[in-house]
Symmetry: D2
């Protein structure tokens, strides 16, 4: 499932909740929404353990005049949230998230995101494409997205990251690494101010690092994969959002694996980004709850 017209209408709101599990949470939340005049159009929940675990809830609701009422609604919900010890987020589906895409030379994942954004499947504003190479400039241009070439060398990495942060301007809701082959520093991640999603061209936790296809060929695996995950300071170790694989065999060269891997990389990344944009991903203890 992903964004379609009905689900991004002006009156559609989303409530994402994390709190200690206990009886009465759903009753309280649904009563609150009902009394506010909202109609629940979708609801998903999960508990790590109904007796003393952590409870997660996604509610999508329809409330006429939501744009004008969302601030009041949030105020009201804050009181309820406090009594349950909730971490929570209230969003309007119609608010497009602002995203920046980082890419190196391979452009397949970038193309996929631009195209899916154009069809509305990815409901967002792609504000810029940032690359350490000039190659993808025409791709961005074809979709009228600003392109920024920020070269990175071991010596200039610090300055390059400063320039990238300046371009982002602290205004992005999401940065997507669409086959960006530089490792972001801890300082960058501290400063960026929004989640960063990466597509790793391997089936994590196997094949961490820069050469997963070479290692897969060397090991003789019969499946190769791709992993979309949130970026943390530990390389390729952040919370996994989505993974998928493609079948290979002994005849596949590393070049074949790279080519075949492109297809699964782009689709895995597109799904992960769609779920994030639609507020369907919650991170908990380095794992994700994904309400698909």
């Amino acid at each position: 499932m992903s964004a379609d017209q009905a689900r991004t209408g002006p009156d559609i709101g989303r409530l994402l909740v994390t709190c200690p599990d206990r009886p009465g949470i759903v009753a309280a939340v649904s009563r609150f929404l009902y009394e506010a005049g909202a109609n629940i159009v979708e609801s998903q929940q999960y508990s790590t353990n109904p007796f003393g675990g952590t409870f997660f809830l996604l509610v999508e609701f329809h409330l006429p005049g939501l744009a004008e009422r969302v601030a009041d609604l949030a105020d009201g919900f804050g009181t309820l949230a406090e009594s349950f010890g909730m971490t929570w987020k209230l969003t309007r589906a119609a608010d497009r998230k602002k995203i920046a895409i980082f890419v190196s030379r391979a452009d397949h994942a970038l193309r996929e995101l631009l195209w899916r954004a154009s069809t509305g499947e990815l409901y967002c504003d792609i504000r810029m494409v940032v690359s350490n190479h000039p190659d993808a400039a025409p791709v961005a241009a074809a979709w009228n997205v600003p392109f920024h070439h920020v070269p990175v060398t071991p010596d200039t990495k610090k300055q390059a990251e400063a320039q990238q942060l300046k371009l982002l301007g602290g205004e992005m809701d999401l940065v997507v690494l669409a086959r960006y082959m530089q490792i972001l520093s801890a300082d960058f991640l501290d400063a960026v101010g929004c989640p960063v999603v990466n597509i790793h061209h391997g089936f994590l936790p196997a094949f961490v690092g820069a050469n997963p296809y070479g290692e897969a060929a060397e090991r003789g695996v019969k499946l190769i994969g791709a992993t979309a995950h949130y970026v943390t300071q530990e390389l390729d170790a952040g919370p996994i959002i989505e993974q998928d694989i493609v079948r290979v065999d002994h005849r596949c060269s590393v070049a074949d694996l790279q080519r075949m891997g492109r297809d699964v990389e782009r689709s895995v990344l597109a799904r992960a980004v769609a779920w994030h944009l639609d507020d369907r991903v919650i991170v908990h203890e380095n794992r994700t709850i994904v309400f698909t």
Copy 2:
């Protein structure tokens, strides 16, 4: 997901609801359960259209002393249900459903069900195996399940079905056709008094009828499938619960397709039966809502 120990405990109840969609359903149901002392451990819902469509709800809850309280709970819920125009069902997870398995010569689907019942993955009592051939008798015997050989010929079909109904005794919760190669008459389906699930050895709606693998080979398809569905009077046209496929190629003979199809038949049927046993399937207008 399927039955595990936690989900079949003595205090786990399940509420399945179908009703016209309108605001306040979840609020009312969750409040009812909360006030009854129940803790919701899982909830899934679906609406064909939040504005005037049909609403479906599955709630799994924990209520101490459920066995003693379930009758009262149902009484109380009946009043609420009436005000919303609900069709509903309240079950205890610990109540094993009684099932009968019909089979002809091929025993792979039967073996799968018997084995999965033994591991607890299918939470049920397999009361009998009924077959128009004697071949599967040793398989049933190995699992200590009564086996009834009821031969069927065009001339004796009416009497055979009468004998089958007598064996079932109106006491089954589900009849599973695990590659039973006879068509059940409308009279039988009227009289059987419980749902009947069939595994069809083809990807419906393609390849209706008795020879799907032959037709698949003739057509030169690149995938073959299997379909688990509720049986209705129209052949192979009942609500589909689950489907899956396996990749084939030009080298596959009809015998190869039959062999390869066995694997997908047995797994598709096992999933469908598990979902039915766990009260996760609702039929609506010849389609299924499956809360997996």
Copy 3:
């Protein structure tokens, strides 16, 4: 597997053979190639029945100076071929096939083909895009491929097809219908002079015709598919080259199915076109042998 650099080098030849099966075919063909100085780099074969069936063979070989020697090689092979009653084809891998892509409004399959051609994965020259709508013109322009808008109405279909044939000029090696929503007439197919590959947005033979997603939603299937096939005069009944599916559920609207189906349509079509371009598909009795 698909075209990579090694397999499209100037000295790589391909021999595709169909003949009555009998002992000695492989011995004769491999001896012929060996004596001609060729090194077999790949070989695949299939027989419908080793005793009296039909035999199919693909041999890929390396022969220095192939460009100059291919005519002589073909002459020599002709004699051998006659003695075995072979239907055969000898091609140079380096000869790019000329293709025309027909498309209507949806451009996802067109984009996929253009992109994969640009990466070399589809080894061909895309000579033109022909459409009954103007929508895809910018997509073709972005890849510098000529775009021809040929409107089609029931009244003008005959003239439109004449215009299309004139554009093709009898010079194409393949026409690809990449979601072209018009049915080509028998006269067109007679006149076009090359194979035509279509992507059907359904899992054939289920859901023949123009509305497969609507019918899939109505029937409540749990998988939707796409089918790439050669076009024959019988609608959606030509030899199937490739099929694949994607899992769906009760929540999917027809619009969801269309969106989800796009992904499998484009990948299935791309695989089928790649195999055709690489001479890996043989048609036999309305089925395909595909040497992947």
Copy 4:
């Protein structure tokens, strides 16, 4: 593809060849077989590099009276093989390989192998089941296969392995570890005298060792897998024959993963064993060439 009646007939032979690649190998082998009166019914080949790499060939042929002629045929082929520097093997398809199955408590993989052997899909003689626990005894008994309980403790491992080797008697063609939870010593592997295939309950090279499902849950992967591989002295590092995966999500407990993993473990192991029994697997530099 796997063994069916036609492919295990008394006159079907198989030739497996590994040698340095150079022109003329296929010509020489196919001429040899033709002159011996054999009809090639299937042939597959692979080269790591047509110019100086290693060449692999599988030929399946029909030769009337093969049983009486196989020794002479091998003699004759030996001369040819020597001139090409071939490592080779000539087998009769009708010769059932003798196998021993090692298992611990979980019996799903054992059941699968026993059942598939009974249908002929695994063409072999299962001579014994060996276990460090008594649990699987009734399963073996139901299929009339001798069961040997050989307890293993850290202190008695040496003696236990000696007992196992004595039971095998140096007469097995294959040992299958069908969820045998003991690590075989280097001494055992040296002495066993036949290949050993293991099913690992994880997607190698991720999750090496005894607790892959626990680690998978901890890491929050979205797919779990199973890997069938030849056993070498390095734990879980031998040549991979087959792998497959199943999709999981945040709701899955370790117990769920274990249950879901069973299905993919048994099917992956069954495919790998079938390919080995049908002489379709060649090991080269710790990787496998699998002619499926």
